[in-house]
Every structure is written in structure tokens, then in C-alpha cells.
Symmetry: none
Subunit: 141 residues, 2 copies
DNA sequence: AGAAATTTGTCCGTATGTATC
DNA sequence: AGATACATACGGACAAATTTC
């Protein structure tokens, strides 16, 4: 049977099944998933397809894979309760010494003080992006 | 020759080459990349390897692929403000492993790959500010 | 409108390299 | 050193979306 994938591709179905096992704690957090060779036998799919399915979960950050070790289920990030963690400061400003890279850009000595302003944007509590802006200290005369 | 990947895997070298073409505007923003079949011939690599290379760039959000159409180079945002005189912006994009601080913000493990986009604004040749934006690699679904 | 060509998407099977146990 | 497990790479085949004629 070459390649009939009506509706949903095979690797997505397999990803769904594995995701369900992780979310239902059939595969508890921290545990190793079955090896690719085992999954190959169980789902009767080629190794490439199994790897594609695992890649989906990895992109979802539901699992982490280590070369030669295996693939772990990652601990679930549970939602923040109602009056739980207050939102951290969205912006922060501090002074840092210029490293070689920044020093070269600003044409100053390594170690020269720079202002770093960091802002964190969140969406539903999860961080979307971290932006850091570097400037020279303003020396007014 | 089957599979010698000393140092850097083949698909990463190919990704590097294609990235260079995009960043050097050899492939201008919005333009289609050569088809997979063409790249296969040019790099003398299998289609799977070519697709792996393109997947890297897609995760970096440097390109976007459409079924039946092809793969586009995505426009780099320069966002030159309204009549600001001659404000140039250089941008660079690369992957870096998350340090402890960024890992904590994004709630991922230390070492997780992040995309760092750096833009340097210059006015009359002198650097005004360096902005670095950190994001997680694209997640689909 | 329709058929053909092009291009990406999915899947298989196999072989070999590299890291970990 | 051997066994196990993931990573890289090849080549072939068919499916599905888009463009072209």
C-alpha cells in the first residue's frame, strides 16, 4: 500500500495518538516514549513516518528528544489559577558592560556601560517574544 | 556515498547556503526559491535532504511554503519610519541556545533553540540602538 | 472548461553514521 | 566492546494543490 492518506495524514494520526497518551498520563511526564523501532512495529508505519509524528510533538514542545537516549514526555505547563502568580514586570531596564560584539557595533571599549531595556510580550500568559534594546548611556553636557 | 556527515550535516550546509542567498538578496523577498527538483539537481542531494534544509529555514520564519506553489522568501521587515531622514537598519537572524534567563521566560529547557533577530539602526553612520528580538521556533497546528 | 505539467506533501524501505548505555 | 537508539541520507512511488496551455 503506497500512500493513501485520505483526510488526515498518517503521521498526524500517530501524533494525535501519542499526544493523547501523554496528556492522559498513560505516558507520565519524564517517562521515555517507546523507541522508534517499537512504534514502527506498533503502528506498522515506516520509521520516517514515526519520526515525522514525533517531530510534531517536539514542535509542540510536548516531548524532547535526546540523541542516543530516547524521547521524553515533558511535564505539562499547567495554567495559572485565578489569583495565582501575578504578572511579572513587563519591562526592565539595567546597565550592562558591553561585550565584544556590542562594543564593536557602538564603537566603544569592551566593558563600556550600556543601557539594556528588556520588554516581554505575553499572550495568555505565555511569552511570545523578548525584545532587548541596547543604547549608549546618554552623556549630557 | 551514503551518509558521511562529519561536523555539519548536509541539510544544514544547504540551509546555510540558501539562507545566505536570501539575506544577500540573491533571492529577493517575495520571490520563489528554486523548486525542490531544481535544488536536488544543483546540490546533488536527495529530495528528502533538500526538504529538510527548507524546513530549517521555515522554522526560522525566513521562508514560507505553499502546497503546489513553491517556497517563498519572506520579506524582512525594515519598517523604515516616516520621513526620518537617512535611518538605515541592518538585520541579521540566527539561532542561539536559550540561556538560563531566556529559558525561564519562555518556559523551556536551557539550550532550547531560539531565533534571535538583531537589527541595528544607524544614523549618519553611528549606531543608535541595537534591538534583539528572541522568539521560539515556529510551532504549528 | 479541461487536461497536462509542475510543485509540494506523504509514505515506504534501506543503509550508514553517531551518541548513549 | 557490544547493544540500543536516534540522526542523516538515498531513491522510489503516489497524492494533492496550483499553474499553464
Amino acid at each position: 500500500m503506497p500512500t493513501p492518506h485520505y483526510g488526515q495524514p498518517r503521521y498526524r494520526s500517530i501524533a494525535d495518538e501519542l499526544r493523547a497518551r501523554i496528556e492522559s498520563y498513560a505516558i507520565p511526564p519524564g517517562a521515555l516514549l517507546p523507541a522508534e523501532s517499537v512504534l514502527t512495529a506498533e503502528f506498522k508505519a515506516s520509521r520516517g513516518t514515526i519520526r515525522q509524528a514525533i517531530a510534531v510533538l517536539r514542535d509542540e514542545r510536548l516531548v524532547a528528544t535526546e540523541h542516543g537516549r530516547g524521547t521524553y514526555a515533558k511535564p505539562r505547563r499547567h495554567e495559572n489559577g485565578p489569583d495565582e502568580g501575578s504578572v511579572e514586570a513587563e519591562t526592565r531596564q539595567r546597565q550592562i558592560p558591553a561585550d565584544r560584539e556590542l562594543a564593536a557595533l557602538f564603537a566603544v571599549e569592551v566593558g563600556t556601560a550600556l543601557v539594556e531595556q528588556q520588554s516581554v510580550t505575553r499572550k495568555n500568559g505565555t511569552v511570545g517574544a523578548v525584545v532587548r534594546t541596547y543604547r549608549l548611556l546618554q552623556t549630557r553636557r
